[in-house]
Assembly symmetry: C2
Homo-oligomer: 400 residues x 2
């Protein structure tokens, strides 16, 4: 079928976000076709500069966060604390569907940009706020960072080997997840608005997200009082399920059914294990899983990852090699998925990770990550219809 415009074509988002959670969430909607206007401070301060030096992941002085999470936006510099700046912001609200911020609770109200104020200007506006601890509760004022939310929620305590200290999951799941949950809220509010004609407030925070990510360990604790062990490299529920090291790397085994365990043992050359009284029933294998994992590890260590992956896939055993990123991105299947995309910034081409949300008629697109204030004049002219005199005045007043 012919491709239509992006699924969110016509949805305009005012992006006030500066943290990973907000940037990641807005980017999902930007990739799906929303018209995102990013508001930046008029001057690059050490603090705003700092945002682009802290990730430690730069190329040619460009922080990868700009490449990954500033794409598909227009950039407008605007001094929100200046009365004239606020007037411009209110005009933008009149012409927009969503205002998305990640300020600490109270800041938007102090700026005269809270939902009650903005909904009086445009009753269709959806206001999405992301924070660390949420807008309510005794710690609402505390600064939120991904590791703090993962620590308080118990997520960090679930990561690492059972007998060793807890560890940080390898990537900011609380940040990304919060942006994703916020995006659900914005999309649901936009959907509902089509029948109610009104916008509403959406909220997501790092701590709530981390609690939701506790998933079954959390639900099980709440109903049984049983504290979960850390997962580490081996499953707590089954034998021969986990990460095993091979002659030259690591491989993950995910055997679930009795049949898969049989196939695995056979492929490892040890169908005999299943005759062992310790391992001759599912219950016994669970009970003695550490011994069986040990035996499995000894055999895995005798051959390469490629050898075992090929042999086990042939034996219909669910496995996968533990890739480093170079091998991951060189994988033919991964390459075929098109998850590595091209985008640009300041005239340079870059690669980025694509959007995993796939829509058959309106696929994601990957426009440039704008330079600071690149579209200030375009937005004020095309979106707000300001004339040259007003632009001039705003520049003179150091508002834009």
């Amino acid at each position: 079928m012919a491709q239509s415009a992006g699924a969110l074509h016509g949805v305009r988002i005012i992006d006030l976000t500066r943290t990973t959670a907000g940037l990641f969430g807005v980017t999902i909607l930007a990739d799906l076709g929303a018209d995102v206007i990013k508001i930046e401070p008029r001057e690059i301060t050490p603090r705003t500069l700092g945002r682009f030096a802290t990730t430690g992941r730069t190329k040619g002085g460009v922080d990868m966060r700009v490449i990954q999470t500033y794409r598909n936006r227009r950039s407008l510099t605007l001094e929100l604390k200046h009365p004239l700046g606020r007037e411009v912001f209110y005009d933008l609200v009149r012409h927009s569907d969503v205002v998305w911020d990640n300020y600490r609770p109270g800041v938007m109200k102090a700026l005269g940009m809270d939902y009650d104020t903005l909904s009086n200007i445009n009753h269709r506006i959806v206001c999405c706020s992301i924070s660390g601890f949420g807008s309510t509760g005794p710690d609402a004022h505390r600064p939120g960072y991904d590791p703090i939310a993962e620590a308080l929620s118990g997520l960090i305590m679930l990561t690492g080997e059972p007998e060793q200290p807890p560890l940080y999951p390898g990537t900011p799941f609380a940040d990304m997840g919060t942006g994703m949950f916020a995006a659900h809220g914005v999309l649901a509010a936009l959907y509902q608005r089509q029948s109610t004609g009104r916008g509403q407030q959406v909220e997501a925070c790092l701590l709530d997200t981390s609690l939701a990510f506790l998933y079954l360990d959390g639900t099980h604790y709440l109903n049984s009082g049983t504290l979960p062990q850390r997962t580490g490299s081996k499953s707590r529920s089954g034998p021969l399920v986990g990460i095993f090291h091979t002659q030259d790397g690591y491989i993950v085994s995910c055997v679930q059914s009795q049949e898969q365990v049989l196939h695995l043992c056979r492929a490892l050359g040890h169908e005999d294990w299943l005759q062992d009284p310790r391992f001759n029933s599912a219950a016994n294998r669970v009970h003695h899983r550490e011994e069986l994992n040990q035996l499995g590890q000894e055999v895995f260590g005798t051959q390469s990852t490629a050898y075992w992956e090929e042999a086990l896939i042939r034996a219909d055993v669910p496995v996968g090699r533990v890739n480093t990123l170079d091998h991951a991105f060189a994988d033919p299947h991964i390459q075929s998925r098109g998850m590595v995309v091209s985008t640009s910034h300041a005239g340079q081409e870059y690669k980025a990770l694509g959007c995993p949300v796939r829509l058959s008629d309106s696929p994601a697109t990957y426009g440039p990550a704008p330079s600071w204030g690149e579209h200030t004049e375009e937005v004020l002219t095309d979106v707000l219809g300001y004339g040259p005199e007003r632009l001039q005045a705003l520049r003179q007043e150091k508002v834009v």
Copy 2:
């Protein structure tokens, strides 16, 4: 403002999912008010039973996955391979907005339930498919499990201490994330449908999701060729950022600005560290961060977690204690967030993790997790308008 119905009130979803990714994603939309009809096989087979024994997280024989991810649904048993069962399914499609499955690619077509077929029955239908490897590419047929996707993508290689083997992140992020991205796609397709009048296909898979979760490490590798180190317990970008053990537990420090580093060193009683030539500038501190982390660790070890948390929060240093789940759920702020909710199943009350998506006018609700086939008659009668004779016939034919 008065609360309206759920944001997704009026959206009917046919839920064919059985894996964590699908169940988690559908539950987000169910919590937000969608009318979800879960289709179950007519008979509980060892295999379907097996699904509820593998998580190892049960109470009174009830798998916590039922409590956490079957809530807010009606359950209909239906034999999809029976011609009459397919007719019933087609009738459901005529009365629904979304069909959501997690079968391996090709299965829906084999069942006569692929998008082309269903869109001819109802051109407004949105078909969402979740799989391990996606519907295209050389490995599309492979069975997908969360750890395999996290292994192949490189995510597992990012988790663990740099000098030690890679580990599994403590909870199934690829599963949950895939359900979340799929939910974005469904919501975007429903939004776009309101202008195009047509549904479309939505796809998400564990592997694409895991690649997206590589986030900055992935983007940095793609543009610089630099392989990231595992994160482990300490940040790679800054000193005194990470997990430190105390006299009785662990605490996370997230100092970012120069000022925060100063406050932390002062609170640790060692402002003098910042005079040390190794640590007297941000660059030097990054270069010598392991020595500074070592010094910090020695001091953290001399007092309790509670002591440091209280002292450091007072010093305006961003920190958080690493909670076990009992302490997490006992935390006054966490309790105030209402993320622990009540739901029921088979007449029993249970606690569950709530929905982190917060909408001011249409908050999430938490209906029961139905028993197997509990609403078969209700759905066939109220939704499809079948009469008693037809119900009787379907039962006789072992279709429902």
